[in-house]
Each structure stands twice: as structure tokens, then as C-alpha cells.
């Protein structure tokens, strides 16, 4: 069964550094999403992306965050200057309809 893949599985970075989290959505899907889950908390919506542009974003998704679909297969989340509170599991998801299909996440640790 097709699946969403995310790399790396774990990323450690220093505060203030830029990180790029990568995702390969399921190939025929048209809608792409990023969610995050801070340890012990709920899964939170960050951004949705369709037709090469952001459809919707949450208040968490500020100017430090950006998304891109650079080559028709990858979908990336960039955090320009990481903060300690950005430490979380970041999940990419894709869909061709209502149910979202999630990857296994990237654990981002900001030190």
C-alpha cells in the first residue's frame, strides 16, 4: 500500500539554526499537510497546501515557517530560525479526499 515517507526520522539542531523537514506524499494525492505534536500534547494543524500554494495555515505557522513543493514529488517544511519550543514530532500528511494519510514523522529536537 502506498505510504507517506518522511526524512529524517530524527533531527537535532541548535537554537537559531534553519531546518528542512522532508516528505514524499503518496503520488496521486493533491492535498498536502503538516501537523506537529509536542510531547504529551495533541496533534496540531500547521498548514495545508494545494495547487502549489498554501490553502490554510494556523496561528502557529508564522513567518519562521515555510512550505514548498520543489519538484513535484517532495513536500518540505522549513523553519528558518529554530526555537526551543519548536521541539516536537512533525507529521506530513497527504490526501486525495477527506481522510489524511500520515507519515511516521520527524522528531525535531532543538537544543
Amino acid at each position: 500500500e502506498p505510504e507517506v515517507t518522511q526524512t529524517p526520522s530524527h533531527q537535532v539542531t541548535q537554537m537559531g539554526q534553519e531546518v528542512i523537514l522532508r516528505c514524499v506524499p503518496i503520488s496521486n494525492h493533491l492535498y498536502f499537510y503538516w501537523y506537529r505534536q509536542i510531547l504529551g500534547q495533541k496533534v496540531e494543524f500547521l498548514v495545508s497546501f494545494y495547487n502549489n500554494e498554501i490553502s490554510e495555515k494556523s496561528e502557529i505557522f508564522d513567518d519562521q515557517f515555510s512550505v514548498e513543493r520543489p519538484d513535484g514529488s517532495n513536500f518540505t517544511l522549513k523553519i528558518r530560525s529554530t526555537k526551543l519550543e519548536d521541539s516536537a514530532m512533525y507529521f506530513c500528511a497527504s490526501s486525495d479526499d477527506a481522510p489524511l494519510h500520515f507519515g511516521n514523522g520527524t522528531r525535531l529536537t532543538v537544543t
Binding site: Y31, V43, S48, S55, F91, A98
Partner: protein
């Protein structure tokens, strides 16, 4: 701003019995609801969905019930199996061109053998 709530953080059930997981929401504009299962170190796995035009959807051992007037949905698993032990999230969205799902805080289900 807890638009989607799962008030039971944990639930233990004997193998073979029914598991009932509950979810409440506040936004009457939500028109699509999902249940996900999540194991540690994995992403959420889609289980079952229901749209607001229905009040029940069934898929094998899993049934979701929607009570729009009470803004309440529930997931029934019967019979429960030890492999069902996981954290279960409900999620709700209003369709606005895309789906922006709001997740509940999750219920940890433990099925005892």
C-alpha cells in the same frame, strides 16, 4: 480553544469485549469526522470516517456513531483485541476547499488479554 475534546485520557477493556471511545466537539460547522489510531514512534493511522449527513458508519470491527444534536461521536470496537492497544484520536473538520482537521487530545486504549 478546545474545539474537539476527548475527555477520557485512558481506557482499559478485556479482550473480546467492546471498547467505546468518545469525542465531543463544539463547532457546529464541522462536517467530516475521522478516527485515527497511533502507536508510539509512528504516525496516526486512519481507521474510519463519517460525514455529517450520516449517523453511523461501519467497517469490520469498527463502527463510528455521530450525534449531531449533541455534537458527539463515538468509536466502537468489537470485539477488542490486544493489538488494538494504542492511542486513539478523533479529528473534525469543516470543508473550506481543503480539510483542516482539529484533533482531540487522544484516549489511550489498553486491551487486556
Amino acid at each position: 480553544d478546545q474545539q474537539v475534546k476527548q475527555n477520557s485520557p485512558s481506557l482499559s477493556v478485556q479482550e473480546g469485549r467492546i471498547s467505546i471511545l468518545n469525542c465531543d466537539y463544539t463547532n457546529s460547522m464541522f462536517d467530516y469526522f475521522l478516527w485515527y489510531k497511533k502507536y508510539p514512534a509512528e504516525g496516526p493511522t486512519f481507521l474510519i470516517s463519517i460525514s455529517s449527513i450520516k449517523d453511523k458508519n461501519e467497517d469490520g470491527r469498527f463502527t463510528v456513531f455521530l450525534n449531531k444534536s449533541a455534537k458527539h461521536l463515538s468509536l466502537h470496537i468489537v470485539p477488542s483485541q490486544p493489538g488494538d492497544s494504542a492511542v486513539y484520536f478523533c479529528a473534525a473538520s469543516e470543508y473550506t476547499g481543503t480539510y483542516k482537521y482539529i484533533f482531540g487530545t487522544g484516549t489511550r486504549l489498553k486491551v487486556l488479554a
